[in-house]
């Protein structure tokens, strides 16, 4: 298996690049800088790093003010506190005036692990996706995270970036190209497509390899840009495969699967199976064990592909 790196670690490194490139980039954290990996930026650029203490509402509001005065703030904390605690500050102080704040949240999903369900954001994509003016990005590996962070800094407006705690396989090299609003077709197949993001992308590739042995030709699409969504690619792949499995480390309500179902329901009705948390909270445990318990493994994707192929043949 390839080397592993957590998307939060790649975020920390990308911030150092941005810090050197652009003096307007500033970083705010809420007493979690060692975990969100913003601490290295803080060491290198102390005058541009603001630890706001355990006060997420003020973290987001201060970021809004910095952006209103021309800065490019990256506001970081765990996804549950960013989107959960400070939702209305994000909505009214950042998104409503379309201020240039990057909400860079780590520790999303159940792969937070041992800290348990209280700390595992499983509804953050749904919430952020519903807010006008908000861009929602969910990178799959270290390289994509690097590109997502640089792209977010170039884009003028609010962006929610969802990252994880767990080290995940490196999938992409520097020949990979991420673009806001574009999905990446990682493998072209004709029988079925798995559309995934975040930690589920590497599993989708593994599932596709296993299914190939059975003679099932799987298209794998990485949908890091949940909003704006690359409707053209999704519709094109749905036309080609006529069967879609979506996969996300998020509640099946409101996230990637819902976003794709919305598009296909209107433009290209297609048999679908959504893989994700089945409207349930997580719990404490080792990340790998939790992924298994909550149905987010390669085996679950293989099963979902068989289910959707059965629907397709009906």
């Amino acid at each position: 298996m390839a080397d592993k790196v957590a998307t939060r670690d790649a975020y920390g490194k990308a911030l150092l690049v941005l810090g050197a490139e652009n003096p307007n980039v500033v970083v705010l954290d809420a007493d979690l800088s060692k975990s969100t990996k913003t601490a290295d930026f803080g060491k290198k650029y102390p005058e541009r790093f603001f630890n706001m203490g355990i006060a997420e509402a003020n973290l987001m509001g201060t970021a809004a003010g910095l952006a209103a005065a021309g800065k490019i703030p990256f506001a970081s904390t765990f996804a549950i506190f960013a989107v959960g605690r400070a939702f209305e500050q994000i909505r009214n102080s950042i998104a409503y005036p379309k201020l240039n704040v990057k909400i860079a949240a780590t520790h999303s999903g159940i792969t937070v692990g041992e800290d348990g369900g209280s700390h595992q954001a499983i509804e953050d994509v749904a919430i952020m996706r519903a807010v006008p003016n908000m861009v929602v990005l969910v990178p799959a590996d270290g390289e994509e995270t690097r590109q997502v962070i640089l792209a977010a800094a170039k884009y003028n407006g609010p962006v929610y970036i969802r990252m994880g705690r767990l080290a995940v396989p490196l999938l992409f090299g520097d020949d990979y190209h991420f673009e806001i609003g574009k999905a990446n077709v990682l493998s072209e197949g004709t029988d079925v497509a798995i559309m995934a993001n975040g930690v589920m992308v590497s599993m989708a590739l593994e599932a596709a390899a296993e299914l190939a042995i059975e003679g099932i030709n799987v298209s794998v699409v990485n949908v890091a840009s949940v909003k704006p969504l690359d409707e053209e690619t999704i519709v094109r792949v749905a036309k080609q495969t006529k069967a879609i499995v979506t996969a996300e480390e998020h509640n099946i309500i409101g996230g990637l699967g819902s976003a794709i179902a919305e598009v296909l329901g209107e433009r290209q009705p297609t048999p679908m199976v959504r893989v994700g948390l089945k409207d349930t909270f997580g719990e404490s445990g080792r990340p790998e064990e939790l992924l298994k318990k909550y149905g987010l493994t390669k085996a679950d994707l293989v099963k979902a592909v068989h289910e959707v192929l059965a629907k397709k043949q009906r």
């Binding site: 003010g65 102080s93 379309k98």
Partner: protein
């Protein structure tokens, strides 16, 4: 401006507020009227601003954290020439620039979108941090309501402003003592306020919020304070200047009828005549 000129401006803002609300049939008169001298002093005396260049990067900033008092801000912006006075009659109307609560995307001169209480001071702090990073000497003013002292975010922001020594932040607390459900102390007791802010390491000045000379002196004092932010606790009367609105919680968020508006304007015009 002289004392009498600032008093005339405050009176003009009050007349604008009443006439806007009569037309819109909706809006918040009480907390707009209580802040007339504070806003007049800031926009016509204290703040370094340029209505011809609303986004001038060196300008002083104003954040109306008590965003429901938007009418007093709009009146000041119109009187300063940020937009034609006729726009005031479009308050809260579909497709017009003057939203029910301040919107920086729609209205020239509005530095921050506000209205959801408790959020303005954080934004002001962010602007002040940016000013310090950029080596600019602009001031950031935030007008707070006493009702929003119950919002936890206010105290998060209070702590942060002192922690980061934001002496370029001056908050003004429009201490009118009333909120929707009654007196502030009956709804949720936030007093003693001066002691609380002092405990949060702010420089505290207490003034009569309708005394323009006292306000001018307070702003001058705030500018001299180094190493900590300043809050001016301005004791005011909700509904000030209109006899039947003064100290009545019921006038927090109800617009006057045409007849009530005429009565209010008559009183305000008489006050203007007495100012000479």
């Amino acid at each position: 401006m002289t004392t009498i000129e600032l008093k005339r401006v405050a009176n003009a803002l009050r007349q604008d507020i009443i006439s806007m609300l009569v037309t819109s049939k909706s809006g918040h008169p009480g907390g707009s009227l209580s802040a007339a001298e504070i806003v007049a002093t800031l926009f016509f005396q204290e703040m370094k601003i340029n209505p011809q260049d609303p986004r001038w990067s060196d300008r002083d900033r104003f954040v109306l954290s008590k965003g429901h008092a938007a009418p007093v801000l709009y009146a000041a912006l119109a009187e300063k020439g940020y937009f034609p006075k006729e726009e005031l009659q479009g308050l809260r109307q579909t497709g017009r620039m003057l939203q029910g609560h301040p919107d920086m995307k729609k209205t020239p001169g509005v530095d921050m979108s506000t209205g959801s209480l408790g959020q303005g001071l954080s934004a002001a702090n962010g602007m002040a941090l940016a000013g310090k990073l950029d080596g600019k000497d602009y001031q950031v003013f935030a007008l707070l309501g006493d009702g929003e002292m119950a919002e936890g975010q206010i105290w998060e922001a209070a702590m942060a402003a002192a922690h980061y020594k934001l002496d370029n932040v001056t908050a003004v607390l429009d201490f009118n003592g009333l909120q929707i459900d009654g007196t502030t102390d009956s709804v949720m007791c936030s007093t003693p306020l001066a002691e609380k802010w002092r405990a949060f390491c702010w420089h505290v000045i207490e003034v009569d919020g309708h005394d323009v000379d006292a306000l001018v002196a307070a702003f001058a004092e705030a500018k001299q304070v180094k190493g900590s932010p300043t809050i001016i606790i301005a004791k005011t009367v909700k509904g000030k200047g209109v006899s039947f609105m003064e100290n009545q919680a019921g006038w927090h968020g109800n617009a006057p009828s045409v007849e009530q508006g005429e009565q209010a304007l008559k009183e305000l015009r008489e006050e203007a005549l007495n100012l000479g």
